[in-house]
Symmetry: C2
Subunit: 379 residues, 2 copies
Amino acid sequence: MHKVAVVGVGCTKVGELWDKSLKDLVVESATKALNDAGIEKVDVVYVGNAYSQILQSQGNLGSLIVDSLGFNGIPAISIEAADSSGSLAFHEAYKAVRLGLANSVLVVGVEKMSDSTPEEVAKALMACEDQDYVAFTGVTQAGLHALVLRLYMERFKVKHEDIAMFTVKAHKNSLNNPYAQFKNPLSVEDVLKSPILADPLRLLEYTAIADGSAALVLCSLEEAKKIASKPVVKVLGSASATDKFYLPERIESLTFNATVKAAKKAFQEAKISINKVDFIETHDNSTIMGVISIEDLGFTKKGEGAAFIAEEEIPVNTMGGSKGRGHPIGATGVYQLVEAVWQLRGEAGKNQVKGAKIGLTHILTGIGNLASVNILGCL
Amino acid sequence: MHKVAVVGVGCTKVGELWDKSLKDLVVESATKALNDAGIEKVDVVYVGNAYSQILQSQGNLGSLIVDSLGFNGIPAISIEAADSSGSLAFHEAYKAVRLGLANSVLVVGVEKMSDSTPEEVAKALMACEDQDYVAFTGVTQAGLHALVLRLYMERFKVKHEDIAMFTVKAHKNSLNNPYAQFKNPLSVEDVLKSPILADPLRLLEYTAIADGSAALVLCSLEEAKKIASKPVVKVLGSASATDKFYLPERIESLTFNATVKAAKKAFQEAKISINKVDFIETHDNSTIMGVISIEDLGFTKKGEGAAFIAEEEIPVNTMGGSKGRGHPIGATGVYQLVEAVWQLRGEAGKNQVKGAKIGLTHILTGIGNLASVNILGCL
């Protein structure tokens, strides 16, 4: 079994990219990743995308993308798990390289949302929830996040201001990310004065509609050492897990067991302890999801996630996370990995975490029914 | 690296199953496969589905299905490649077992089409084609198949009667398949007198709207030998490939290179020659696709696919294929594998191929932009 390394990364700017199609976005990110790796072709392409079937009526993305990139004939696998799509695509690609079935693999995450109306996007975002038991009520994702936020504040006696701090930190970090959707600093007051999406969740606590694509190239560690002109980033662990699909069926609503399980498995595989992690790229499609995720990953106790982030015990979402960098849903998992590689190579610019050797990425689907955790290292 | 075996199979009846939801279908097929394997749980679930996002607004199927089956917490991966979805899900599951990442894996293919209008289904079926260059013209899948059929008949001087024979054979075989959608024998005359879908393609040359789910359980060969109460079916080869996405961009319109490449790789991996294959479960969402596929797989020369099937040189689509058994799109690849296992175990009833030791399954997406080939054996 091979060890696996990331040898190339690339991404598009995140935002409302009116002049770029889904294929344009993929070609841009993939070309950057291939150039970064210094290779011209790969053996397989794995695609992570959440909503192209709903928003563009476009399915069969794997084959479409292989052709758009001019890679005639190679296998393509397209994976969908809403927000986790890109991270699961990475996970499957990682397996293919470990097994030696492919010398080099391209992973592409892509989402094109801005051509659709906000109503169409809101409906698409609910596709990851059970249509028979949840979506039919008309509740939106923001509505579900609001329920969790309210319960969290009551249970743990945490103030909304402290949770809103998540957005402030995100926008502070995205200021220095050339690919970020948002470049405006925000105060806690700005966040809490913004319109209510679903009480108590505010507009500025939630991610915006965005287009974007991120890509990376994987190959075996042996091969990476031969071809790499930059520090070689290893994949130390990659795992995913699920949870009861329907939030009210879970015994505990404020701990997402999918995260707990995926993190445990990823750390076991990486054979490192959590205190070795130098920075965290965590799921944060709303402030409360970011706070809960930091706790579930094991970095701090329940109820203390917001304080952990405020005190910057470990750098979190160093390039702005989903709130600041933007959240092109199926691509976000790959953006996290691309940003982690920048940190580990020392290419993260003004937001560089000094001496970063190990980084963790984490993403959730919906209200935590699926989670994926990856641990990368440059040792 | 482990060798891999199929230790359990199951499926629902194919048809317009008005009283069954997508989840009901999955639970039925998966429960049958698990019971057949004699095991209660698996380590991972791979899901193949084409159109639940479009037809049911339901995404994130992996996690949903894990929960529906009561497998709380295990990883789930959902793969989409239109008709090839189920076969690619099998391919990824196969990799996971080979790598030793999972002891046992459940593969489920599912599609629920009958709750949607024919117009909705026709639109969904075009999701696997390029929205920017093909689907926007308003052409349907049947329209594309008709173009290929006309060109084929002209180029190879093959009569429509000979191609229509594919349907006749399919309905003859599905008569004895208890899970088949169609149980009515048809003559060539019936087929050619049926309404025109898109000239020259007739209604009875094309598959119908159908619901269905098929499932199978994979584990390592060592484990299979321990637990199996039935003949152990080995996975000898599993491969996929792509082609130029847009039919007119290909140099050759009547040879689908994705099939040629995938078959070549699968045979190389299986280390067997094509004359060892005892039966073929091939793609046949229209008569012409079945005929071309037999040729592209290498069983006969170009222009002779129809004659090959008429002469029954090797049994083809022994349980009725997509035309007779039915074509619940994302599930069909798994149905083919389930039927191949029945043949190899000697459980195929009246349609049993005597002494069958090696079977091949093949499926295409759209007009051949992606193909997947699997070779199973009971040696």
